[in-house]
């Protein structure tokens, strides 16, 4: 089995593909080996001579491989050379499943796999879908909460502005000195006239107290 897998690896790597970790393959039904050329993914389901003891097991192998179609861009069924004559290649072609024949001469691509588009839905497991849906719900919930918070901030901001203006008014009223008479009687000497110090000195004591 490992010998076949090594042959397949060599076959695809030589063609510019990179081996994908099977864990990276997002499918319930995992392939034995997976590749990517950077844009599309290739899944290969490998069956050894030992696994294909009877006709039913071969049919099962084909069905398992078919289940991978749609989960990768291209899906291959890899069989020992001896089984190539038993399978009707047209059925595989109709379902877009490729066939690799592995034997003493290495790997032969008997039937090229058809290129499939992978739907998001198809590329995701049900758990992942659940997680995404859950995430979407949470996102929606967060959006709602952010909107609520934005509204709260807006209301608070308005409230603060209102309070600030009230404080300024109150301070201005506090600072406003009590009305004092700075009317200078006519008989006072000339150095009293238009003297700005009168206003300043009349408030001595008051400005200290308010400070």
């Amino acid at each position: 089995m490992s010998e076949i897998i090594d042959q397949i690896k060599e076959y695809f790597v030589r063609r510019g593909n990179r081996i994908l970790s099977v864990d990276e393959a997002s499918a319930d039904l995992k392939p034995n080996i997976a590749f990517t050329d950077g844009e599309s993914t290739i899944y290969v389901k490998v069956f050894s001579k030992e696994e294909l003891s009877d006709r039913n097991s071969l049919l099962d192998a084909v069905l398992q491989s078919l289940r991978l179609v749609g989960k990768a861009n291209r899906v291959y069924l890899a069989l020992p050379k001896i089984y190539s004559t038993i399978l009707d290649g047209r059925i595989l072609q109709r379902h877009g499943l490729g066939l690799l024949i592995c034997g003493g001469n290495g790997v032969t691509e008997a039937i090229p796999a058809r290129q499939h588009e992978i739907s998001v839905h198809e590329g995701l497991s049900s758990d992942e879908m659940r997680m995404i849906l859950k995430g979407l719900h949470e996102l929606r919930d967060l959006k709602r909460r952010v909107s609520e918070l934005e509204e709260t901030v807006r209301v608070l901001s308005e409230e603060i502005s209102r309070l600030k203006s009230m404080r300024v008014r109150v301070r201005a009223e506090e600072m406003k000195p009590p009305p004092v008479s700075v009317t200078i009687p006519q008989e006072l000497p000339s150095f009293f006239k238009d003297n700005p110090w009168l206003e300043i000195l009349i408030r001595r004591g008051q400005e200290r107290a308010s400070a």
Partner: protein, 423 residues
């Protein structure tokens, strides 16, 4: 006591270096003036016996009646505020202050029945230490106990009073008297920690005048201070630039020659070819650092030294421009341009004449200060001479007493408010 009462009986008392200016608000534009001095007569003298009741100290206009010989004068005549500061234990000086204060208050005792003491605003030099305030308050308390003349008293620095009289709330006041000069920034309050005191005043201009007179052969006359002072006032000139002025005067001595005849005497002063020295008299007050003064110092004329009186250091050789900058730079940066924008020159030491024919080389105090500031990079400073400098402080005291509320009590931290002498 009501605000109305306080305003009616506001009394100003300016303790100047030479004169004591005093009087209530009813004096109008000008106060009463007596010389700030006291004479301790020789109790054995004939005049003392003739004048009747024995008096330990004589003040006011009676002094000439008691004067003895010239030698007696230096011993018995006391000018308490000669340097702006009275030493703590100078009992004779404090005695004179007591006498002139009492004299001033009694001179204006109102006849009205309702009169129950003045609200006195006294003014001291901006460098007066706290003990002077305490002692002066005590003097007023004593006078009130004896004469019932003082209801409340406050003391303000003279530069603040000048700024009030000149109607300028933000300014630098440069007050130059006989013995010293003070630079005090004001921004609604005096900025006390920015005050710069200078150990130079009109007396120093007298000193250089005396030296010049000696050099010109009038050594005998140079010993009489009153005479020297008169000569200084008649012949002294402030140069725009001392080097250039001296050069100009030396080239053309006749142009600057001055002959002064002392009225009603045979005395005639002629500086002849030394007439260029007229510029030294003015320059010395504003800036004694020119090399021309070195020869006078080396020949024994005392150089203005830094002096410490109380907690204050009086700077000897700092020029007036530098002293203003030093004072202003102790104030907040934001305030500094406003302070340079209003520099008030106050005191008799700034009253220098500029004869029309010498305007190319001589100047007045305001322009001289401007030139000194410009040398140090301060441009656009506005310098003005105070109007009626003799009365400025008293006027400021009257406005202060009239306006500051009666219920604003004296506080030692703020150094302002009314100290009530009675319960």
């Amino acid at each position: 006591m009501s605000e109305e009462y306080k305003r009616r009986y506001t009394f100003g008392a300016d303790y100047g270096t030479s004169d004591f200016k005093f009087g209530p608000i009813t004096c109008g534009e000008t106060p009463e003036i007596i010389e700030n001095r006291g004479y301790f007569p020789d109790t054995d003298s004939l005049m003392y016996r003739i004048m009747g009741a024995p008096r330990e100290v004589v003040v006011g206009k009676e002094i000439p009646l008691y004067l003895g010989s010239r030698e007696d004068l230096t011993l018995r005549m006391v000018y308490p505020m000669k340097n702006g500061i009275i030493r703590k234990n100078d009992e004779r000086a404090w005695r004179v202050v007591y006498e002139i204060t009492k004299y001033g208050l009694k001179s204006f005792k109102p006849p009205e029945k309702e009169f129950d003491g003045f609200y006195v605003v006294a003014s001291l030099s901006s460098i007066a230490p706290r003990y002077m305030y305490e002692r002066l308050f005590e003097i007023y308390r004593q006078i009130d106990e004896e004469e019932n003349l003082v209801r409340a008293v406050t003391i303000i620095p003279q530069p603040l009073a000048v700024a009030i009289a000149q109607k300028i709330p933000t300014c630098v006041v440069l007050e130059s008297g006989h013995g010293n000069t003070q630079v005090c920034p004001i921004s609604r309050y005096p900025i006390r920690n920015a005050v710069v005191a200078i150990n130079r005043g009109g007396g120093d201009a007298n000193s250089i005048t005396a030296e010049i007179l000696k050099d010109c052969g009038y050594g005998d006359l140079a010993r009489e201070e009153a005479f020297v002072r008169r000569i200084k006032e008649k012949i002294g000139l402030i140069p725009k630039d001392l080097t250039k002025a001296v050069e100009t005067a030396k080239k053309n001595p006749e142009r600057f020659r001055v002959i002064y005849r002392v009225p009603n005497t045979r005395i005639e002063i002629d500086l002849a070819e030394n007439s260029w020295t007229r510029f030294l008299i003015g320059e010395y007050v504003f800036n004694p650092n020119h090399e021309l003064f070195h020869s006078y110092f080396s020949r024994g004329m005392p150089k203005p030294e830094d002096a410490r009186i109380g907690d204050i250091t009086f700077r000897g050789m700092i020029d007036f421009g530098e002293s203003i900058i030093e004072s202003v730079e102790r104030c907040p940066i934001e305030l500094q341009p406003y302070l340079y924008g209003q520099i008030l020159l106050s005191g008799g030491n700034f009253a220098w004449k500029v004869p029309r024919e010498f305007r190319d080389v001589a100047t007045d105090s305001a322009l001289k200060i401007r030139l000194l500031l410009e040398e140090k990079g301060i441009r656009d400073a506005k310098i003005v001479m105070t109007k009626d400098p003799q009365f400025s402080v008293w006027r400021g005291c009257i406005v202060y007493g009239y306006a500051v509320p009666e219920d604003y009590e004296w506080n030692w931290e703020r150094m302002e408010g009314w100290l009530k002498l009675r319960e």
